[in-house]
Amino acid sequence: MTNTESFLKKSNLYPALILEGFFSSKKRGRIIKITKYLIYAIPVIIILSIIFSSYTSSDPSGSNNFLITKMIGLAMVLGGLYIMMEMFETYFFARYYFEHISKNKYGEEEKYTFSAGRILRRVENDNLLTGLLKSQSIGLKIVDRLGISREESAILLSKQAELKNPPFFDTKDIPLVKVSNITTFIYNNYPDFKNLLTNHGLGQKDLDATVSWVVYNIEDKEYNRMWWTKDKLSRIPGVASDWSFGRTYLLNKFSRNLLNDKEVNSNAISFSSRTRELEQVQSITTRSSGANVILVGLPGQEKMEVIWNLCRKIKDRTATKTLIGKKPLLFLTSNFTSTINNKNDFENKLITIFDEALSAGDVILIIDNLPKLILQAKQFELKLYEIIEPYLASTQDQIIALADMDYFHTLIESDQAMMSRFEVVLTKPLMLDEIVNIITRESLVVEKIYEITYTYPAILEIAKSAEYYFPDGVSSDKAQDLLTEISPWAVQNGIQIIGKDEVLNYVGGKTNIPMSSISADEKDKLLNLENLLMKRIIAQKEAVFAISNAIRRNRAGIRNEKRPLGSFLFFGPTGVGKTETAKALAEVFFGDEKLLMRLDMSEYQNKEALNRLIGSQETDTQGILSNMLREHPYGVLLLDEFEKTDPGVLNLFLQIIDEGYFSDAYGKKVMARNIMFIATSNAGAEKIFELVSAGKNPKDYETEIIAGIVKDGTLRPELLNRFDSAILFQPLTKENLSEIASLMLKKVAKKLGEKGMVLSIDKELINFIVQGGYNQTFGARPMNRLIQDTVEKHIADLVIRGTLTAGQTISFKVITNNSGKNDLEPAVV
């Protein structure tokens, strides 16, 4: 007998485990159903046959007696079977040892939990990994959820035959062996398993979370079948529980009883989160006086989660004595305010409602939006506090008010009287682990509806993506939204198993940020980014290298997620390609040049500039920058002439580049972590021109140029240091200009090509554009104007006259016009 077998046999659970393996609960359930229906059918058969034989048989009593005897015999056999199966079910439940609540029906100690036993029973040759990979009921479910394919697990299993002395699983020091003990042991002692997980990007923590999820799922189902336990019976409300309490006629119109909410009625074994806030609310509402709470949090469901958890405790009768039997009514402020016509109406109705709540004696009044009520009162020139003060001071009722964080700060915190009547409970944002926990449980519901399966890496990615890529709102809400959005999308695309890549694909599609694993084509593109970009950006090698590196860092997933995607300061003369580089970046990284947003910072030079960017409470205006980033949370933001803006605005960007967010005038966070910032500046241009005219290469004097910019106070050193890199844009040489002119002309040729016409570009034409269009102060920019005024003008004239049509080629010859200047003469072939 192997060690594992002898360990298994030491427990009372063993026969139940064997029973489960031999004759599973599912099969027993089926037999119970069939025997029950057959037993019901037997009397019907007897009655029908008596009626039938009385008409047809010559000896009805004889044939009836025979049939009745046989039917009674059959009923007895079926009855015996039925009772036997029911008894086995009872035995199974009595023996079932839950991991999540760590007890069975008797609460006695066991050697291992039922789920752990299911894996251990499949162990061959004391090799624990075989147990995990062979147990259909739990082990393989864990493997599936980890995103490991059945082929991979089969290969791993076949390797185990070669292992002669498997690592020894010592159970002596483990008081109760749980599935997590087994999987941790396997992870630490079977390198093949560990390597496989590592290849999937998973570690011990992920394994533990997956195990907890799978075990929860199995145990939750079993637990829900046990209707006879004390906690389940306690949830059925008593018939006379409200006979001694008053009625709340008006309050009922504007409220709902939370005990009927589906969140309160779910049978989940335990509360998943927000236990700290729940304990605080419960202890405050239990007080004999001043039992009023104001629950403050971000807009979203998180405040309600605390309330639902409290209601569940009330319903389960596990809340404190004072709260058991109470009726939590959620006062729906919007429903109330929409029916109010005038000041008197507001005051009278509100007093009646609070009177009813107080005199009923069993109501916990929960106001879903206290700030809204305060604002409504203000509109009627009333002070809400003065109306509800007697009720807040009463020792006989409990009032819980919910408020969004920003309104709490602006409307309630400053009101000393109101604050003295309420205890404040702040809901903390959930940690990633807690969000994952919520999503894993939520996913079980979604999986049932859409008939899909989520792997753990997918769940983890949903939780992370909700945090990083969707900046507004509560993370747990966003993650739940993402989960419910991905599911129908997966069904539409024929995806049954959702892994990390599928989630990244979806999020990538939604945000335009490339995220899924890098394909072969994209790999080539990423490795040759410099060449690709240099086809478009002429001469600025350093800039091309810097942004190529930033793109690769982001794509490889090694960027700092608490900062923007990238931040660059481009400085140097006008017209040398700074804006073009930003456009190229938007196109290469986000796939669309249009995702380039632009702010001309020279327009933000005065003291009002900051208010225009982040909004102002005084004038009740929204900020240009905050709106821009809320509407387009992903993209490239070009800040032209950055150095010209007000110092207050520079400080704002100092924070944005450092932290990846800022707060607008209303105290709301605006995230900028998915934005690539490019600030351009003409600072140092004069010095660069000086160097060029002296025949020196500005690149060699970069440090001096930057020192000069700092010295003359154009940009502060701490701001310069915040950028990922500050890049000097070189003035363009004649060769560079020829290349740029050629690129510009090719663009015109492309437009013509779409109409079936050909533009012939030769050296003569390029030289004409370079010589006529270059200007030291404005760089290559005037060349564009020259092309418009000459090449495009001629083409337009010819097209309108009908001289240039599809299939024809146009070329230009440089001539000297009447005023002695060079000009172009078109020729159509």
């Binding site: 064997i18 005897t69 056999v77 015996g80 009595a94 008797y106 006879w228």
Partner: protein
Amino acid sequence: MRIILIILGYLKWHYGQAIPALWNTWKNFLYFIYEYFSIKLLFKNFFDSWKRMTNNYPQSFNLKEYLFVFIANMITRAVGMIMRTFLIIVGLTCYILLALALPFALVTWLLLPFIIIALIGTGLFLLIK
């Protein structure tokens, strides 16, 4: 072999731990009946008015009005008492019946393996006969 192991394991439980477990489940049901009919609460608030439907006495003394409120309040109290008495009787009856059924359930439980054998045995005999 496995069947014998299961049967032995089962019988060990059936005549061992299952008996206190049966008693515990019974207690759960008794607790449920007690709570479902709110028996304690009904006794505690026995003289309370029906759903707190009371009228307030007039501020200034007015015998007619005073009497009217007094009678009205007495009526709601009487309604409350009648309803409570009725529910207490029903609840206590259920409670007592359930408590009395325990010995019967216990005996049935002890005989259950034999009942199963007897049912299947007799049933097969009747079918074959």
